[in-house]
Symmetry: C2
Subunit: 432 residues, 2 copies
């Protein structure tokens, strides 16, 4: 846990309390702060006698060799990038738990059959480059390398005072911080025996039920869109409502409708980014672009919400500006599609057994009830590794179920539990 906070010196964000670690994080993927923590990670892993490689997406793989040189390592992975107003646990915990595992194995002189690796995946958040888990996606050969390299940073990041004058692409950002590695980004070049990941739940189930470990069996489906609404700029003071094609008014109705439709189907729909142009108090915005994030337990449900919203948004756009025969139009671009995922039974079993073993000495009557199976609401790099190798995840509770917020918090005990479970899971898997 002290290492976790140590690593948060690079990119520490919004302060919410007086303690030395009472800040959030702002460590956008491939920023200077991300470079610093990457440098530290590599140095740390080399000191732990790991072999380190960096691939074309900047993914960093550090492997502690096993007895047998010719079998792939079992990996522990997560990410060191954060949201613009993120916390100290989302992703960071997973990588730091990996470091703890290697340290512990070294200290114990534990030998494994295959090697054990720790991987830092690039831009998991999708906060700077708008595809989450993009680099594990390229590794799994689910996302073409060129598409990922050409991704442009989102406008909110591109307009930060520290930003370059033109929006960076992933490739130029990788080059800038010296992390465009030469190992091909593929599960063929960097094979894995399995992938395990420990993460804060980011939701309220474990914490509100006083449970200690979530055995993650599945991840819900989600799709990310960028939408453009095109209306007509005009004067706010002289233009009657009937004469407007107000792209922002259309947007407002769309956002209200999106929640309605999603809720009716047991799904979520959220807008995180909105930009209205030209951006003047007395001009009705003629152009609005926004992000739309639709999620649901089943891929089919997400598709249904999308379908209904396409119809509804068209109707909303058509009505706004109809009076002048110049209705608004709406255009959709799919940025990312992540179908629902079921993790691998073997990995789930290893996690389940390890979790029970770790909580066994808790001072409660029914320690079994401290562990539950759970579905992940968020995406994780494990989603993409699961396409190529056996994978599963471990959740620990976090305060108020809050994440993507500076006050995101898990106790040192819970973090330690997570690290212990993943250590055991890796060893169990190695022995299978």
């Amino acid at each position: 846990a002290s290492d976790l906070h140590h690593s948060c010196q690079w990119g520490s964000g919004i302060r919410w309390g007086n303690g030395p670690t009472d800040t959030g994080m702002q460590r956008l993927a491939l920023s200077q702060d991300d470079k610093s923590v990457r440098d530290w990670f590599i140095q740390t892993m080399k000191a732990l006698k790991c072999n380190v490689t960096v691939d074309e997406m900047g993914n960093i793989f550090a492997v502690r060799p096993g007895r047998r040189a010719n079998v792939p390592a079992t990996f522990i992975g997560s990410h060191l990038d954060t949201q613009p107003t993120g916390g100290r646990y989302d992703g960071i915990l997973g990588v730091l738990a990996g470091i703890e595992v290697i340290k512990t194995m070294n200290d114990m002189g534990l030998e494994t059959e295959g090697g054990v690796g720790v991987v830092d995946w690039t831009n998991e958040e999708g906060a700077r480059f708008p595809i989450s888990m993009v680099s594990s996606g390229v590794w799994a050969e689910c996302i073409p390398l060129a598409h990922a390299h050409n991704l442009k940073e989102v406008p909110t990041v591109a307009s930060l005072p520290t930003a370059a004058s033109a929006p960076e692409t992933m490739k130029s950002a990788l080059q800038k911080i010296g992390y465009l590695g030469d190992v091909p980004c593929s599960y063929k070049s960097t094979p894995m025996a399995a992938h395990f990941e420990v993460h804060i739940e980011q939701g309220p189930y474990l914490v509100s039920a006083n449970q200690r470990v979530g055995v993650v069996t599945a991840v819900q489906a989600y799709r990310w869109f960028r939408l453009n609404v095109i209306g007509r700029d005009t004067h706010t003071g002289t233009t009657a409502f009937e004469h407007r094609a107000d792209a922002l008014y259309a947007f407002a109705q769309m956002m209200v409708r999106a929640r309605e439709v999603a809720a009716s189907k047991g799904c979520l729909a959220s807008v995180g980014i909105v930009e209205a142009k030209p951006g003047s108090v007395n001009t009705v915005p003629g152009q609005v672009s926004f992000s739309l994030d639709i999620r649901g337990p089943e891929t089919e449900q997400v598709a249904e919400v999308e379908k209904e919203l396409r119809t509804d948004f068209d109707a909303i756009a058509a009505a706004e500006g109809a009076g002048i025969g110049k209705p608004c139009r709406v255009e959709w671009t799919l940025d990312f599609d992540s179908p629902a995922v079921k993790f691998h039974e073997d990995c789930i079993d290893c996690v389940q057994q390890s979790a029970q073993a770790v909580v066994a000495d808790a001072s409660v009557a029914d320690t079994k009830s401290l562990v539950r199976t759970i579905m992940s609401g968020a995406g994780h790099d494990s989603v993409f590794t699961s396409k190529r190798v056996p994978t599963s995840m471990i959740f620990i509770p976090c305060k108020d179920g809050l994440s993507h917020h500076p006050e995101e918090f898990s106790t040192a005990d819970d973090c330690a539990t997570g690290a212990s479970v993943i250590l055991q899971a890796v060893v169990r898997y190695d022995r299978k």
Copy 2:
């Protein structure tokens, strides 16, 4: 008219047709382009033998002396700044008509009792610094100089790639382009006998009725607000709707409600600027700021809309996040308050008579019907001059009633009519 387009070489904006003048304008107040057109304006007026002064708000006054040295001049005024996606007529027409008037008087060797002046008022649009007509407001001593000097540019402008790293204030922007004059900005230092202004209507009444001139008798009331909605950042994928305090969802409901309430009271309510933070696809925005522009024929109506919206917005905010006991909050800041205005009978009479005289030779049976009295939906510098000196305005038709849009357009004939009417109105007023 050729001068009008000549002056549009500085800051020409979005192209909408193939002709050399088929572009809009982007000449934000106190930008480098604004400096260039100001330099041209001063040089032009000096060549026309006018005396030029610049005051502390960068207002430029150019006076053609009359017979009597000790009486104030009658002014023709408007502005050379534009919206970010503005057109070639809003404001520009008024200043260029003033130049035409002085040229014509020189050509005709016309002598007047008092002088005749042309004034370019700074930042009329309020598009860069969010108080419209701010510099005529300071001149009228309705807005304190220090308040105006400290105004910060709006975020949409501050984030343009060409922007300075910190948002500029009006004072620093005036200094930067060398237009922080030393004449005190006051009607006491630069007195006027009267103020006339010719402007495109920016609305559909004249053009749809085939009328040629609007005699402006009044200006509707308006108020500009900046609102902040404070909620809580959280993860879009793991946070149920009941667990959110989504500031953007609250905003969307507010915008929909604002139109409803304004419409029910015969008023307008518009949002031109919106900013959601932190601005990440998978983070529910915890903070949204937006502009709100409320207008109505009577001051009292605007106040009523405001009152109702304050109540409704509080209710919307209170409901969003109630499930987690952390409801959204909404804060209002009044940026600008412009009560309804009635123009001066003497000036209105001069405009009315001049308009009738100018349209008298039109080839229609009833030339009287080509002129109508009209209320202005938009604010103009004449609003503030009317607080201190007799004032009125002349409207000419514009295509589709469209303004604050690159395709804003008035025919050369209509522009010439406007210039003729204001010439006659000034002469009539001078002879009173």
